[in-house]
C-alpha cells in the first residue's frame, strides 16, 4: 500500500542518532507547562488582589476590635459604677427596711404602763452599723415582773424580739436593758 504523502528517496550517508521527534502525545507536557504558567500568573494576580483586600479588611476589623474593646471597657466601668451604686442603694434599702420607727415603740411602752407605775427612763438607741438593732433601756418605779412582761408583750407585738436582756430590781426601781431586733414579718 502506498503511503498517503510522497516522500522522496534519500541516498545520503545516515548520520548517527537521527531522531524522528518525540511522540505527539507528549506535546501535553509543554502545553501543560504553559497552562500552569498562565494559571500561576492569573492565580498570583488574584491572590495579590485578595491579599490587598484582606489586608485592608484586617486593618478595618482591627480598628473595629479596638473600638469595641474601648466600648467594652467603658461599659464595664459603667457597669461596675452601677453595681457599686446598686450595692449602696441596697444598703440604703436594707437600712430603710431595718430602720423601723421608734415612736410607735415608745408609744407601745408608755401605753403598757399601769397608772401606778412611773417611767423614770426610756432610751432607744439605734445601732449605726446594724439599723434593725436597738439598744433598749427602761427604768420603772413601782413596777413588778407583771408590768415588765406586759411592756415586753407590747414591744413584741410591734415585731421586735428582745435579746441579751438584763434586769435589775432594787427596792421599787426596775432597771431593764436588752437589744431589740426587728423581725420582718414577711
Amino acid at each position: 500500500m502506498e503511503s498517503k504523502d510522497f516522500i522522496c528517496h534519500d541516498l545520503k550517508t545516515d548520520p548517527p542518532d537521527v531522531s524522528q521527534g518525540l511522540p505527539s502525545a507528549l506535546k501535553l507536557v509543554p502545553i501543560l507547562f504553559y497552562l500552569v504558567g498562565v494559571a500561576s500568573i492569573i492565580l498570583g494576580a488574584w491572590f495579590a488582589i485578595s491579599m490587598k483586600t484582606a489586608t485592608e479588611s484586617k486593618k478595618y476589623w482591627s480598628g473595629e476590635i479596638s473600638r469595641l474593646k474601648r466600648d467594652n471597657e467603658r461599659l464595664a466601668a459603667e457597669t461596675a459604677d452601677i453595681e457599686k451604686q446598686n450595692g449602696r442603694a441596697r444598703e440604703v434599702v436594707e437600712w430603710m427596711e431595718g430602720a423601723q420607727g421608734v415612736q410607735p415603740l415608745s408609744v407601745a411602752v408608755t401605753r403598757s404602763l399601769a397608772p401606778s407605775v412611773t417611767l423614770s427612763e426610756l432610751s432607744l438607741t439605734r445601732n449605726a452599723e446594724i439599723p434593725n438593732q436597738l439598744y433598749f433601756t427602761l427604768k420603772l418605779d413601782g413596777a413588778g415582773p407583771d408590768q415588765l412582761e406586759q411592756t415586753l408583750t407590747g414591744i413584741r407585738a410591734m415585731n421586735f424580739q428582745d435579746y441579751s436582756a438584763q434586769q435589775v430590781k432594787t427596792d421599787d426601781l426596775l432597771d431593764y436593758k436588752a437589744t431589740l431586733i426587728w423581725q420582718n414579718p414577711n
Binding site: M1, F6, D10
Partner: protein, 289 residues
C-alpha cells in the same frame, strides 16, 4: 538532560523530525526556515532557494563540476539557508532499471539504505547506493542505483563549503516516482491502462512504458540533451513506434515553459500528449517532499 533539550520541548522543536530524518518531508523538517535546493549535473550546477514560508526564491546556475562551483558559491548558498541544509539532486552517474520480484517486506525503504543486499540479493553492488519504488499492483519495481563515491564526493564538497546535505536524491527518479505515486492513488477506473511516461530533467531522460497495467519497458540516460530534442527523440523513438495508437504520453519536464519544453511539446503534438509539468517541477518534487 541538557538545557537545550528542555528548550526544544518547550518550543515544540523536539516534536518535529530531525533535520537528517529522511523519512519526513523537508517542510516538516525545516518549518519556517530557508533551505537550498541543488541539482548537480556532470558539468552544470543549478540551484533554487526555499523561503521561510515555503515559497521559491532566487535561483541560478553555473557551468562546471560541483567541486569547482561549490567553493565559489558557498557563501551565496549559505546566505540562502538558515541552517546550511541543502537538498541535492544528482543528475549523473546513476542507473534506473526496471526490476521484478524484489523483496517488499516491511521497512524495505530503510532496509535498502542500510543493507541493500537484503532487498536486492545478488543484484547488489557494494559500490552503489540504491532506492526502490514498487508498482503497487504488479511485481515490477523501478530501481535506482547511484555511485557511492559520487554521493560521498557531493557530501564532502558540501561539508567543505560549510553546508549540510539534508537529502541526496536523483531528480529524474524523484519526478517519475512522484508521478507514479500519484498515478496509483487514483481509482483504477480513473487511470489509463496504457501510458508512456516521459520525464526530462536538465539533460537526463527517463521513459516508462505502462502497457496493460504493467510496466513493460523502461529506459533512462543522463546527459542526453542540452537544448535540442533530437537526442531525446532517438532515445524514445522505439517506445513511440511500438505504442498503440491513442496511447497517452505523459510529459514531465524540470520546469514549465522552457524552450526545450516548448520544442518537446511541439514534437509530441501528434500523440495524445498530456503535459503534467508543474511550475518549478523539479524543485517542487525534491524540495517539498
Amino acid at each position: 538532560m541538557k538545557l537545550q533539550d528542555i528548550k526544544d520541548v518547550l518550543s515544540f522543536a523536539a516534536f518535529r523530525p530531525d533535520a537528517d530524518d529522511s523519512s519526513s518531508s523537508c517542510p516538516k523538517r525545516f518549518p519556517g526556515q530557508r533551505y537550498l535546493l541543488l541539482n548537480v549535473s556532470r558539468d552544470h550546477v543549478s540551484w533554487r532557494a526555499v523561503g521561510k514560508k515555503g515559497e521559491f526564491e532566487g535561483g541560478d546556475s553555473m557551468e562546471g563540476d560541483l567541486r569547482d562551483v561549490a567553493p565559489q558559491m558557498s557563501e551565496d548558498w549559505k546566505a540562502m539557508t538558515d541552517s546550511g541544509h541543502v537538498v541535492v539532486s544528482i543528475n549523473n552517474r546513476f542507473v534506473i532499471s526496471l526490476e521484478h520480484n524484489l523483496s517488499r517486506r516491511g521497512g524495505y525503504q530503510e532496509l535498502i539504505r542500510s543493507n541493500p543486499k537484503a532487498v536486492l540479493g545478488a543484484k547488489c553492488d557494494r559500490g552503489k547506493r540504491y532506492a526502490v519504488h514498487h508498482n503497487p499492483e504488479t511485481s515490477a519495481s523501478l530501481l535506482l542505483a547511484c555511485d557511492d563515491s559520487l554521493v560521498k564526493s557531493v557530501e564532502e564538497n558540501l561539508s567543505a563549503s560549510g553546508l549540510k546535505p539534508a537529502r541526496v536524491c536523483c531528480g529524474l527518479y524523484a519526478m517519475m516516482t512522484q508521478y507514479l505515486h500519484d498515478f496509483y492513488r487514483q481509482k483504477p477506473n480513473d487511470r489509463p491502462q496504457n501510458m508512456v511516461l516521459l520525464a526530462c530533467c536538465e539533460g537526463s531522460v527517463g521513459i516508462l512504458n505502462h502497457k496493460g497495467g504493467q510496466w513493460s519497458e523502461f529506459r533512462a540516460r543522463s546527459g542526453v540533451y542540452q537544448e535540442e530534442i533530437e537526442p531525446v527523440a532517438q532515445l524514445t523513438s522505439k517506445f513511440f513506434q511500438e505504442m498503440a495508437p491513442g496511447t497517452p504520453v505523459v510529459f514531465l519536464n524540470d520546469r514549465r515553459d522552457t524552450p526545450f519544453a516548448q520544442r518537446m511539446l511541439e514534437g509530441l503534438k501528434n500523440f495524445a500528449m498530456q503535459d503534467a509539468t508543474q511550475s518549478d517541477h523539479l524543485w517542487t518534487v525534491i524540495g517539498k517532499s
